[in-house]
Amino acid sequence: MGLHLSVPPAVLPDATMGEHRRRVWWTAYTFDRMWSAKLGFPHAISDTVIEIDLPSNLPENTDQDDIPECSYLVAMIGLASLTSQIMGSIYGSASQKTSLSQRVQSALTDLRKWKDELPESLMIKNVDLAASDSRACYLQLMFNQVNLAENLPLCQR
């Protein structure tokens, strides 16, 4: 139904529904990228076909329970996309120009960059996890998993 395409407000005037539609698409994208990486399967959605914007915030008078603040979703989508790129570069069967250790190194740099760019609210600063946002913990766990999967080939040598 073309969820990956953006729909102009003239066609879909309800901004809340438009944002919901967009976020449902990005959830499907995240599932595709995250789970294909975890299960070792190729992903289904190509980045080049996506013409829709990332989730955004709606004016303050809209229901925040329906459309919560978007920074968490944007961070998660970024990690999902990065994960599939990294898994492709490390475990991909296509001939690679650089050595494995170089690729792991570059993946590590990309991951660190993603982490450094996280908004303040989604960072875990101390060991008191109970005081942190559960979503921040979730992102951290996903980050750790990708880190593990990425470093595994070097450990096995």
Binding site: T16, K38, L39
Partner: protein, 168 residues
């Protein structure tokens, strides 16, 4: 790169090995590794889908829907809170007026709620709700709708949970 040097990702089998290691670490008793073959059979899910499944009491249904929205909804945007709550209330008021797809969506939401809310279990919690929700997959909708996509996303996450839970 020569084949023996190419890293191979063995995600599922390493997961079950990880599950064993985790059980060994958290448990005081001896834990052996065992292959996870304890999956729910297709026939069982099929029979649950065809059997009558009583709708939970309004209080329980509200609790389960709220649990799904608060737990899963916090991490993944699949549902609009106000829409689901309204659909649930409408269904409680007049069950016969609820359409097939909305009913399937509510079944899937209840299944996820049950999964989060159940503390101890022997079988997979909410399996009968899951089975009911999968009836939606028996038909290919004539027209594409967002509800159909929402249901598929809910069901696919349930199936992942199901596969993961059976490892522990």
């Amino acid at each position: 790169m020569s084949v023996p040097l190419a890293p191979i990702l063995v995600a599922e089998s390493s997961d079950s090995a990880f599950a064993t290691r985790l059980r060994q670490v958290v448990s005081n008793t001896q834990q052996n590794h065992f292959p996870r073959v304890d999956y729910v059979s297709d026939e069982h899910i099929q029979s649950l889908a065809d059997a009558d499944c009583p709708w939970p009491s309004p209080g329980r249904a509200r609790f389960l829907v709220d649990t799904t929205l608060k737990r899963m909804g916090r991490c993944y945007h699949i549902l609009m809170r106000s829409t689901v709550l309204k659909e649930l209330e409408d269904h409680i008021q007049s069950p016969s007026a609820t359409g097939f797809s909305v009913k399937s969506k509510l079944w899937a939401v209840l299944a996820i709620g049950e999964l989060y809310a159940t503390r101890t279990f022997s079988a997979f919690p909410g399996l009968q709700y899951f089975a009911k929700a999968t009836k939606m997959l028996h038909i290919t909708p004539e027209r594409p709708t967002l509800v159909a996509i929402e249901i598929r996303l809910l069901l696919v996450s349930l199936q992942l949970f199901q596969a993961r839970t059976s490892k522990y």
